[in-house]
């Protein structure tokens, strides 16, 4: 018998486990390390950041207590306000886009594709595992106009749609769209795989019974399929939301936040304030604002998920 086997037998022996778990002190002792790490890694920095947010300047240089004025000044700082607006606009496009397309593709895979299921799932998943910077480079090449036409402009040229040829990353409105398209494309695979997993778990009898009762198409989806995968959909929304509210690397790699401040997110604004403008205090306040928004939205999504369907 292997060592592991002996050990398993020993702890499954009942008397040992019962005795240990019966002792509250023992439980406390076992939970303690994880608790210390959790508190140390999550709560201490949050409290620390909050304390920093009440100061102006940078620790070590001109670090002065200013009360809540960072939180008040935030609303008259054009760049921060623009970043908040931009970030929410981005969330409104990208979160439904990522989860919505993920749902569509997974439904297609589940109901329409009969052959090469594993292959198609693998192909759809590939963008998710590509490094963001590589994806951004690829898209930047596709959107390119000078010195050479990128894929999109070349296609427009080929189709004779010369008036639509433009520097997509050089104009505020198109660069925002370009970023949204890229980030939806990258994440579709991830949500497809998760939702597909939920679809596979729906009991076959249920679908069969519904079909016999005459449900099909949209009705089958809204009455049977969607309620069954609802919890997974909510998880996906939370994932997507938390991913989009901390938008940083894809925008940095694709547009550097530009042109102007058209694609500068809240986290990028925070970074600029902390590490370029030496305003740690103000940047901490922005960080706390991001945290508050995260908590608020997660709370709302959770509330909605507990409601009866």
């Amino acid at each position: 018998m292997s060592v592991a086997g002996t050990f398993l037998k020993f702890i499954q022996g009942g008397s040992f486990l019962e005795r240990v778990l019966g002792d509250k002190k023992a439980i406390a002792l076992m939970v303690l390390p994880a608790l210390i790490i959790f508190v140390g890694v999550i709560f201490v920095p949050i409290v620390w950041t909050f304390i920093y947010s009440l100061f102006s300047g940078m620790p070590g240089f001109k670090f002065e207590y200013v009360g809540f004025s960072n939180y008040i000044n935030m609303w008259s700082n054009k760049q921060t306000v623009a970043a908040i607006k931009m970030n929410w606009k981005y969330i409104l496009f990208v979160t439904p886009g990522q989860v919505g397309f993920g749902l569509l593709v997974s439904l297609m895979m589940y109901f329409s594709i009969k052959k090469f299921k594993t292959l198609s799932r693998t192909i759809v998943f590939i963008p998710t595992i590509l490094p963001t910077v590589a994806v951004a480079q690829m898209f930047a090449k596709m959107y390119e106009m000078v010195p050479n036409y990128g894929l999109i402009n070349a296609l427009l040229d080929l189709a004779g749609l010369d008036r639509y040829i433009q520097p997509f990353l050089g104009q505020p409105n198109t660069s925002f769209g370009a970023l949204v398209v890229m980030d939806i494309w990258t994440a579709i695979g991830f949500y497809t795989v998760i939702i597909y997993g939920a679809l596979v778990d729906i009991p076959h009898e249920l679908l069969e019974a519904a079909r016999i009762d005459g449900a099909s198409g949209v009705k089958l989806f809204t009455k049977i399929v969607f309620p069954m995968i609802r919890t997974i959909m909510i998880t996906c929304l939370v994932f997507s939301f938390t991913g989009t509210i901390k938008l940083y690397e894809s925008a940095t790699a694709l547009t550097k936040g530009g042109p102007g401040f058209a694609t500068t997110s809240m986290t990028m604004n925070m970074y600029q304030n902390a590490f370029l403008f030496d305003q740690y205090g103000y940047a901490s306040a922005v960080a706390i604002l991001i945290l508050a928004q995260c908590l608020l939205v997660t709370f709302i999504i959770n509330k909605l998920s507990r409601e009866k369907y």
Binding site: P59, F61, V146, P147, P167, G170, P172, P259, F275, F277
Partner: protein
């Protein structure tokens, strides 16, 4: 009872072994510390000295400033025993943060790369670095520094003195493709702004893109705005506005932003220029896809390379054209690149000895190896200099006055706003007034 005793025993053994471990560490540390850091004091015994160099250039990047310093230090190491240069590389975008942290713990290395201007001024004010003027005079090596570079460096810190050594002496202006000028029927490089606009018009009429700038990095675009601003308001235009003597919203400042936008609207700039990176812009100039490019003399390394399809004399240079008599054609936009500063706390006679070896040699060594000016005096020019290196040398010799780049006197927030918003001025998203108002509002915060 027995079990409790056993547990107690195990705990005790663990504790004792941990303590023993700590003690062992201390025991090991003490002697090495005493041999390592005992420098400067006199003694017959052999003493080693490690000089730490914080650099933004990878050490193996031949021809970079970091390589030059480390190569000269290696040569110095061959002449003395026990000398070692500890080379620490930090990415350029993390340099500022790293230096700030080192400053706050008063632990700047012996030699440290940094940037001149507002940032260096903070370090000077904190009293952490050597006065290079005094130190070099004391060591008798003051004359190894180029006077032009020294006066520029002093100006960058508002006359506080010389607290750093240069690692470059660059001038900026318009590089142009001679073949394209000829094709458009342009006889000579423009000297006034009106002539310059005429040249742009002629090029455009001949179906040639007049100007390309690496706009995705933003600064190449603010440089063009600054060119007109300096020539119409004077070399101190930005400084006056930053200190509050004048305002960015004054009509002459807005006029400069307007000129930039007008040039964009007239199609003098390459289309989609704010998506082109500086490297591509240089290639476009050399390939004949655009006729002019405002850039610094650091471009010489590209022009000297085999990638230069325009050939060994195919690209010319002219200084920023003049607008009125507020500055002359012999005033050049100059800068000293990144600089080196030296910790005051860690300076001792070993560092002095190293300085005496390295810096008097740096100018000639860099010219010989890389063909670049570093802001050090050069005793003799190498014989096989290229046309482009000579071109820069000629213009540097002609220079009578210097002006600085657009963001040189701005704090980091104003400078970021200036750079990020120039793209919107280029696309026409904001007006010239909007642009200057943004700068004024941001600059006013730190006045």
């Amino acid at each position: 009872m027995k079990k409790k005793l056993l547990i107690l025993g195990v705990v005790l053994v663990l504790l004792v072994s941990m303590l023993a471990g700590c003690a062992g560490n201390q025991g090991a540390k003490t002697p090495s510390a005493s041999t390592g850091s005992n420098t400067g004091s006199s003694g017959d015994k052999f003493q080693s000295r490690t000089i730490k160099f914080l650099s933004i250039w990878p050490e193996d990047d031949k021809n970079s400033n970091g390589w030059i310093v480390s190569e000269l230090s290696r040569q110095y190491g061959e002449t003395v025993d026990g000398f070692k240069l500890e080379y620490e590389y930090v990415a350029i975008d993390q340099l500022d943060q790293k230096v700030k942290i080192l400053m706050s713990s008063d632990d700047l290395p012996e030699v440290c790369t940094y940037e001149s201007g507002v940032r260096l001024k903070q370090v000077i004010d904190a009293g952490l670095i050597l006065n290079v003027e005094e130190t070099f005079t004391e060591l008798g090596i003051r004359d190894c520094l180029d006077e032009g570079a020294v006066s520029l460096l002093k100006r960058l810190v508002d006359g506080k003195g010389l607290y750093c050594v240069p690692l470059g002496l660059n001038m900026e202006g318009f590089w142009y493709n001679k073949a394209l000028f000829e094709k458009a029927g342009i006889q000579k490089a423009p000297e006034t702004w009106d002539e310059f606009l005429e040249v742009c018009e002629k090029l455009k009429a001949a179906g040639i893109t007049p100007i390309v700038q690496g706009g995705s990095d933003n600064w190449p675009m603010t440089r063009v705005l600054n060119a007109y601003l300096v020539r119409s308001v004077g070399p101190n235009a930005v400084q006056d506005a930053v200190t509050g003597k004048k305002k960015f919203t004054d009509p002459e400042y807005v006029a400069a932003a307007q000129m930039f936008q007008d040039m964009a609207k007239k199609g003098y700039f390459a289309e989609g220029m704010n998506t082109i990176d500086p490297g591509t812009a240089t290639s476009m100039l050399m390939n004949g896809q655009a006729a002019m490019n405002y850039d610094g003399s650091w471009k010489v390394s590209n022009l000297n390379s085999d990638d230069n399809t325009a050939g060994p004399e195919g690209i010319g240079f002219f200084n920023v054209p003049v607008v009125n008599d507020s500055s002359t054609i012999l005033d050049y936009s100059m800068n000293c690149g990144n600089i080196l500063m030296f910790s005051k706390k860690k300076y001792d006679d070993k560092v002095a000895d190293w300085m005496k070896y390295v810096f008097p040699k740096l100018g000639d060594f860099a010219m010989q190896e890389t063909g670049a000016f570093k802001g050090f005096s050069i005793s003799k020019m190498p014989e096989d200099t290229t046309y482009y290196t000579q071109l820069v040398a000629e213009h540097l010799a002609k220079a009578q006055g210097a002006f600085l780049w657009f963001e040189a006197k701005m704090d980091s927030e104003t400078s970021t706003i200036a750079q990020q918003s120039i793209s919107l001025l280029y696309t026409g998203e904001i007006t010239a007034e909007d642009y200057m108002r943004l700068l004024e509002e941001t600059a006013a915060k730190s006045r």
